[in-house]
């Protein structure tokens, strides 16, 4: 029996790795997650027979365990089914936080047992339990803040006076109590203080981070949760947890690096500073030109009689749910022989790949959707670049003005197209609060209005031609 369960864990770990590998290619991705799902179910079922838990059917532990599984699964299932695709990033943050919280809670039970006089499994195990506890707790409370920010419950980025100093002090305090709890038999009160401090640390670290940086932070917390799971796996001597957790920890770290690189923001920068706090306003210079407005009918003519149109979607498209209308417009234009492509900035939207998911939802073929490196050489040959709800990712100051906070960030060269049409709700600045010089350029014209309505007007315009 014991051997059988170990075998199931072994297979689970292997299938997780294969599944992750398959998930990194569009062709096999779906198969990958289904395999991983089956492995997860098998591992969970096998755990009922694990030697560590000798349960009889009537025990309160088993009954509560089943209730907990049903409640947790039901809540997650319903929320994941119902949530709109545009809100997916914060849901990932929430589920990730739950995993981190679970890892921390595992450590909490172990530490409470120790404080009640249970036999210690050695210093190494205790240290790993405490490390997993800190990481899991930070990931839990941090993800909760990330969720609140993306969901719009918490609008402002908050900075307390001496925020950085307080975080450092808090971190030191967590280390001290972690040490007290990890060595010898921990006092119950210390365990409680330790967890409270770790949770507060997660909140404090995440509070000052702006919404634009959230994807990187969520990815980082995802990697951290993986690591916490791995550490608790060592504590419980469970190979499936160790391998799966570590694999997620390292792949998550790589993913975080890829995202941070795409934003030209070192991870340390994301965590320890925020946009606009480094005196960016002082460097603001005068902008030449003015914003020119265009009517939808004129814009429609421009595109319909062009050879090539490149669409640059951003978060505004997601908010306006304009992806289906865009696809409709694409079909109309293609019927007229216009070459239509989509240019996706790595950090367009609130997460890398966010735009791709939405466009795929609308049925856009993914060979029409191109990355920054692939599409940038094509802008000079495009008759129209249609920017819809994107702002900072097409701001030419990233190339030209060394004083700008986004200087050096790779951008989409929409300004190199013959004509640029920008669909925008109002005249305000982008997420980072930086003025966009593209909007004032000679070849740029503004089409004001809600993304979905504006595209509907464009469609109507094209149809009349």
């Amino acid at each position: 029996m014991n051997l059988l369960i170990e075998a199931v864990y072994f297979v689970t770990a292997a299938v997780f790795i294969i599944g992750l590998k398959q998930m990194s290619s569009p062709v096999t991705a779906h198969r990958g997650i289904v395999w991983a799902g089956i492995a997860m179910v098998l591992a969970s079922l096998a755990t009922f027979g694990a030697p560590q838990i000798t349960l009889d059917i009537g025990s309160i532990n088993l009954q509560l365990m089943l209730v907990a599984i049903i409640v947790g699964s039901a809540v997650a299932y319903i929320s994941a089914k119902r949530v709109a695709m545009t809100d997916m990033p914060q849901m990932i943050a929430m589920y990730n936080g739950m995993g981190g919280g679970a890892a921390a809670a595992i450590a909490a039970v172990e530490l409470v047992k120790l404080s009640a006089g249970a036999e210690s499994h050695g210093l190494t195990v205790q240290i790993l339990a405490v490390l997993g506890a800190v990481i899991g707790a930070v990931s839990f409370s941090g993800s909760a803040i990330a969720f609140a920010k993306l969901q719009g419950i918490m609008k402002k980025t908050m900075r307390l006076p001496m925020h950085q100093m307080m975080n450092i002090a808090l971190f030191i305090a967590v280390c001290i109590f972690g040490y007290l709890v990890a060595t010898g038999q921990p006092a119950f009160n210390y365990v409680v203080i330790f967890f409270v401090l770790a949770l507060v640390l997660g909140v404090m670290v995440t509070l000052p981070i702006g919404g634009a940086d959230m994807p990187v932070v969520i990815s980082l917390f995802n990697a951290l949760t993986g690591l916490a799971v791995a550490f608790e796996g060592f504590v419980l001597n469970n190979s499936a947890m160790i391998i799966a957790g570590t694999v997620v920890g390292s792949s998550g770290t790589l993913l975080t690096q890829l995202m941070a690189k795409a934003m030209n923001r070192p991870i340390s920068n994301v965590l320890f500073s925020s946009f606009g706090s480094d005196g960016g306003a002082a460097a603001e210079e005068d902008i030449e030109g003015s914003m020119k407005e265009i009517q939808a009918t004129d814009a429609a003519i421009m595109m319909a009689y062009g050879q090539k149109v490149i669409i640059v979607p951003g978060y505004g498209m997601a908010v306006a749910q304009a992806q289906h209308k865009l696809k409709e417009m694409q079909d109309l234009l293609e019927a007229r022989g216009v070459d239509v492509k989509y240019a996706i900035h790595p950090v367009a939207g609130r997460m890398p790949g966010h735009m791709n998911v939405l466009l795929a939802e609308a049925g856009v073929d993914y060979d029409k959707i191109l990355d920054l490196d692939e599409i940038n050489p094509e802008f000079p040959t495009a008759d129209v670049a249609l920017v819809i709800g994107a702002n900072d990712v097409v701001n030419p100051v990233a190339r030209t003005n060394p004083d700008s906070p986004i200087y050096g960030m790779p951008i989409l060269d929409a300004d190199h197209a013959h004509n640029v049409i920008v669909i925008k709700r109002g005249k305000g600045a982008g997420f980072s609060g930086i003025e966009n010089h593209l909007f004032y350029a000679d070849n740029t014209q503004m089409l004001y209005g809600d993304g979905q309505k504006a595209v509907a007007e464009l469609i109507a315009g094209i149809k009349t031609l």
Binding site: Y9, A68, A76, Y95, I242, L255
Partner: protein, 100 residues
């Protein structure tokens, strides 16, 4: 039992595996992949169940209950979210070369 050096080896090899496995992922799959790896650390459910099975007294049972419920939420939510995202790629034609 996995202890001492063998444990360290497992840790190191798993870390390299995770790094290698996703090193050539196209940008379009970044969000689904993050969601997928989010699902995979839902394996914490196994640990939560073990801890819950061993819990004694109200406090341990309560924390254990929270652990199991959250871990189940992580696994189920992560799975459903990932599948929903990936299903959107279903109708699209496969593309041979991935970016990056």
């Amino acid at each position: 039992m996995i202890e001492g050096l063998p444990a360290l080896y497992i840790f190191m090899l798993s870390a390299f595996t995770g790094y290698e496995v996703i090193s050539r992922v196209p940008v379009i799959l970044h969000t689904p992949l993050m969601s997928g790896s989010n699902f995979i650390h839902g394996i914490v459910l196994v640990g939560a169940m073990i801890v819950m099975g061993n819990a004694d007294g109200t406090l341990e049972l309560t924390i254990g209950f929270i652990a199991v419920a959250m871990a189940a939420g992580n696994a189920v939510g992560g799975y459903v979210a990932t599948v929903r995202m990936l299903e959107m790629f279903h109708t699209a034609k496969p593309k041979n070369e991935g970016a990056q």
